[in-house]
Symmetry: C2
Subunit: 378 residues, 2 copies
Amino acid sequence: MNPAVAALRASVIRELNARKKPTSIDLGLGEPTLSPNLAHFERATRWVAEHGCRYTPANAGDSELRSAIAAHYGYPALSAARNVCITTGSQEALYVVLKTLFDPAEDELLLVDPAFSAYEKIAQVEGLTVRRVAMPEQTGFAFDADRILQALTPRTRAILLCSPCNPTGRAISRADARTIARALGELPGAPVYVIHDEIYREIAYADDIGSFGEYYPYTIAINSLSKSNALTGLRVGWFAAPDEAMGELGKTHALMTSCASTFGQRVACEIFAGNELGAHREWYAGQRAAALAAARDAGLEVVLPDGAFYLCVNVNAGNDVEFAWELLEKHDVVAVPAGIFGPGLSGWLRTSFVGKAEDLRLGYERIAALAGGGVGTI
Amino acid sequence: MNPAVAALRASVIRELNARKKPTSIDLGLGEPTLSPNLAHFERATRWVAEHGCRYTPANAGDSELRSAIAAHYGYPALSAARNVCITTGSQEALYVVLKTLFDPAEDELLLVDPAFSAYEKIAQVEGLTVRRVAMPEQTGFAFDADRILQALTPRTRAILLCSPCNPTGRAISRADARTIARALGELPGAPVYVIHDEIYREIAYADDIGSFGEYYPYTIAINSLSKSNALTGLRVGWFAAPDEAMGELGKTHALMTSCASTFGQRVACEIFAGNELGAHREWYAGQRAAALAAARDAGLEVVLPDGAFYLCVNVNAGNDVEFAWELLEKHDVVAVPAGIFGPGLSGWLRTSFVGKAEDLRLGYERIAALAGGGVGTI
């Protein structure tokens, strides 16, 4: 067996989910609970009646969809259909990009922390050297351009960040994105890429949210319809990259999965044609307000989310994994120990606010009760 | 960039396809031209209306589908749902298996030649040592158990073969599969796996076709609905493996793509429930007869296919790649230079018989004319 795969630890999230009971209050979910627009599935089925369900002509995907995505973002260096490759969810996009962009013998990945735990696992399996730069608790885990830039080394080939962030919900400001873009643009030598995981881009509550693609040509933007349109099971994601990188990235994609689902891509075409990417935003804003109110009433310290559907709550736990297990086993609440997203969040939990308001209220009460007296307010 | 990706050559098949004209006779296709059963898409859409389109509860896929696949094959060591993992087509299954099963520092892959060209490319990107064992032209590229067994070394971790074979259409006999299974079973030390790519299993013309899963517990069977049910664009494939291997294989799969399309898996459930895997077999048998008649009338030497939808024809070309380019540019016929599947097929072309009978006839006539007088008969 491949020792790099064997060395991967089991996922704590998966283990917690496996022990969930029918009665459990689930604040651990990483996916929407809304229903997708069924009309798109019906139209895609009619398309199949006419065209069959064959490979897309290019491995990189349906040209109509690639054009629609490029136009939707309008990032200057990524604005043509040829700059977009459709993948099996954003997970494949991430995998392809991390596998392709680096020479494992030379290059380093700079991971902005806290961050989705899959990033480091992919890097680990691919033998990449990872340097982490942590956004500190004192500033509520806000993205900090200077701190990120100070962590660069001559071997940094790319910076990877998730904004709006899983797990904190924090988003990088336009000014900070511009500052980073400007500094990277002035570096000598081969370009340093910014891999911007924007999967929560459409679920945004703040006004000042920066997209690297707007400011920096060596951006690789990763996204999908999973979160914005309640379509995690459709498995349609993508990366958008400048011309220089598309050839190599496309080879890896073709070898790993040939192409993404043709049916799924037709559903995606309908969503872009109907301009429905923000369709669920208002609902999430309501959920966020309910979650914040419930957490505040329970007396929990939280990170105010700029986007996404997570609320990190401070339980001051010495060991957040043990806390999460006790919370599940004794109080029947699922929440994710947030230290798995970076050591700065040890002692915190990631909760998601995709469920019912009464579950949020009860869940935060039980979390606060277990955390005991050592808990501040916002 | 990753030097292993950079070293991958461009695909000749893709380059030929890119130069295809609307008038071209296309004998280069690697996918069905039939239409899929639309009723399944309609039922899957109704399922989404009820359940949404979320991740499958397990990364390995829909438990109903996994059970149906395990039961359909009934391979003794792979007969439980837990032995099946649903992937984004057989391409992802192949990638996951080749990436996971080997310690690149120690193990060798034994590739049975001729073989689908992606196998070697995946091995190349993953840094695997590949040994090739060629089935010789003199016996029509028939699988030969003794020859395969003689090529084993103490470092062989797995044998990979495609039967029925892309490109030759030859299939391994039950006796040869049993001979290999018995010999491998008697080897000391860690088991040597057989990775059996059975993607053309349901498109079979011969009676005596062996499936390793029936005889050998350390089989990893790979398949999909792409070829059997004209669903290349659905991207539903799978691997079935013994318990010992599933844990590690599942980790790689989850990291690469999270899970396969939930919608696609519901379509697949309908196909298994309706026992429709052999639905297109008769049509292919008719196509095969038409192709053989046309090639014989044109005076071409061919390999009689036991399965799949390819006919390898001998054009005695010194350089089959140049021949294929001349065939396309001067005679407007697309066919694949078969040397890319292994050096034993240099001088041959792979043609596919998924098109119209008149195209087959005209295509083989033009191939024979370009090949000139040095061509024998079957």
